[in-house]
Amino acid sequence: MKKLLMATAATALMAGSAFAASHSKEVKIGVILGFTGPLESITPDMAAGAELAMTEVNEAGTLLDGMMVTPVRADSTCIDAAAASAAAERLITSDGVKGIMGADCSGVTGAILSNVAVPNGMVMISPSATSPALSHQNNEDNGLFFRTAPSDARQGVVMTEILMEEGVKEVAVSYVNNDYGKGLADSFQAAFEAAGGTVTLSAAHEDQKADYSAEVGALASAGGERLVVAGYVDGGGSGIVRAALDTGAFDTFQFVDGMVSDTLTAKFKGEIDGSMGQVPGTDSPGAANFEKMAGDAFNPTGPFAKESYDAAALIMLAMQAAGSTDPQVYKDKVMDVANAPGEQIFPGELAKAIEILAGGGDIDYVGATAVELIGPGESAGNYRQITYKDGEEVTVKFR
């Protein structure tokens, strides 16, 4: 009798879920990144990273008993908050996405979060928004916002450690005039001065402008052993470096994550030898897995491509863990799947993770960037310290 009851119950459950699944075999996830604007040269790799995770899950076909994931791209423009909010609104109301991977730049991410995601109760996982202003200590985001990139407050500390080890005590700072640049410059200045260094001048530059002679003139007057460039490689950051090199104002630079990329080495080759930088990165085996999986389809070492993969994977795994695609339900599971305890999950093992979760087990998603979500749902942060030698980017170590 007991066995019969169990069997009927199980059949009913399976039939029920099969019935539900037949109704909604598809779940859409928004991929909102700045496909136009100052980050337009790195976002294709980021989107490809996120979509790689979705393809992987689709190939396994086991997510929530056969749910298929479809990415829907939207343009955040990186700088235009109104355009980004409208794009996100469209994703939710017209495309009916169940989660958002994005946005990229801190300013538009904050705008989307407060204007669209929170009112609509939508989960957002950003791969690259790093402004400390997005650390919601008092739950202003209703637990809807996460990021697989660390806050810049952390990068400011790491940058200070590197400069102090190098014996650099006096620097000038040029930051891009937005949430990202300002947050990074402020957190760096606080950390650097606490460690006994001097910031001679911390001045903003506007992105994408025609000419940076004025900014470099002021920075050169202030002086310093090194110029900290907290900007974008496709935006004003490169313009500042170019002008500083050409006028002989600075020879060596300290680059932040928005600057370090292949574009930088291609642009300046040997001219920036001796400069240093730090980017979120890790030597965990996950990164290598990810690069192998990506193959030649896109550039897996591009900035934030790995974080994008992890962000998309976390959304899907949280859905599986909650057994629902409802953002209000699965938002509570994001931290659970990202952190210990449980079986460690690397890129390429999403199918295994889904299986474990479906069986009621626990996972600890490590992913391509050794994800460990802390505090209000942001990555603890691992950094790769690099230097430039003979026009090449060389990894010094991981911190």
Binding site: P38, L201, A203, D211, S213, G217, A218, A222, D234, G248
Partner: protein, 336 residues
């Protein structure tokens, strides 16, 4: 010696960059002002016209480089410039034929033409990205510096270096040649005179038998040449990226308006006013004063009138002041 150091530091960080940037703005503003004077509308597509012309130059430059053609110490792009101008001319004549001519025949109001030019701007914007992509392209080759900061220091033994990039030198020389040719054309040739007549009084010009379509065609041809030259010089000096050319529109319009829309001389003056105001007013004088002041009196602070954050505000404040007191601009152009 300290006096020399001060002058060198000032030239390196203020004079040389501002002169080069001013020349680029002046060439761009000349194109805007010509269209305003003769076709009577503000052409918002000008920045993207520059991008298109430069794109053709970049493509031809790559082709030349792949065939091993070079221009010695000068950038190959200068050789490719005539072809780029031809390409840009073809584009502008086609847009005029398919877009603007329709509105001209309708005697559309200037404000409608402005909106039409915005439409053209977005299409060109997409076209350029479609052909060459949104990424930054480098096409400068040849010698990078006429004199580099390090060489200058070794040569003169001064503490300050003076860097003059070859692109900055080329910019100024080419700008002077282009402006001289333009003024010669406008003042000395029959077509130039008919263009000025058409600009001064359209009805009188038509009565005296000037063919308006011919004037319009010549205007577009000249604008194409100016836009391509300005865009290429800017691209050589900085780098080519479609998005930045779109952004250049703002300072170019500011220059044209400060100088007086419709006045070629005003466009040149406006370009330099905007460039110098952006650089000088926000310059930190600490270094220069440090050399000039007697020992013990050197400033501790930066001696900066305004933070560089406000450099765009500076050009717009100048624009406001000029418009308040001389609504037609410094050189008596048309009122906006």
């Amino acid at each position: 010696m300290d006096f020399l150091n001060a002058i060198v530091a000032l030239s390196n960080f203020v004079l040389v960059p501002a002169i080069a940037y001013g020349s680029q703005l002046a060439l761009g503003a000349l194109g805007v002002t010509l269209i305003y004077g003769i076709l009577r509308f503000s052409n918002f597509a000008h920045g993207d016209t520059m991008a298109f012309g430069t794109m053709v130059v970049v493509l031809v430059t790559w082709w030349f480089q792949s065939m091993g053609i070079s221009f010695g110490p000068l950038p190959t792009a200068l050789l490719a410039l005539p072809l780029g101008i031809l390409g840009c001319m073809a584009l502008l004549l086609v847009t005029d034929r398919v877009v603007y001519r329709f509105y001209r025949a309708q005697k559309a109001k200037p404000v409608i033409l402005v909106i039409v030019s915005m439409g053209v701007m977005f299409i060109l914007n997409g076209l350029v990205r479609f052909i060459i992509g949104p990424d930054e392209q480098r096409f400068a080759d040849g010698e990078r510096f006429i004199i580099s900061a390090r060489d200058f220091k070794e040569m003169t033994g001064l503490r300050e270096g003076l860097a003059i990039k070859s692109t900055q030198g080329i910019t100024v020389i080419v700008a002077v040649i282009a402006v001289a040719l333009l003024f010669w054309f406008l003042n000395r040739t029959r077509t130039g005179k008919s263009m000025r007549a058409y600009s001064d009084n359209e009805d009188l010009a038509l009565l005296s038998g000037i063919n308006p379509e011919r004037v319009v065609m010549y205007t577009w041809l000249i604008v194409a040449a100016l836009a391509t030259v300005a865009g290429t010089l800017y691209g050589l000096d900085k780098s080519f990226k479609p998005f930045v050319y779109f952004q250049l529109l703002l300072p170019i319009f500011a220059s044209a308006i400060v100088g007086g829309l419709g006045s070629p001389l005003g466009a040149i003056a406006g370009g330099f006013v905007i460039a110098f105001s952006e650089v000088t007013i926000t310059y930190a004088w600490k270094k220069v004063l440090g050399y000039l002041m007697p020992e013990g009196l050197e400033p501790d602070g930066l001696v900066q009138l305004l933070s560089t954050d406000y450099k765009f505000a500076v050009s717009f404040v100048i624009l406001l002041i000029v418009l308040l007191f001389r609504p037609t601009g410094l050189f008596r152009g048309k009122s906006v």
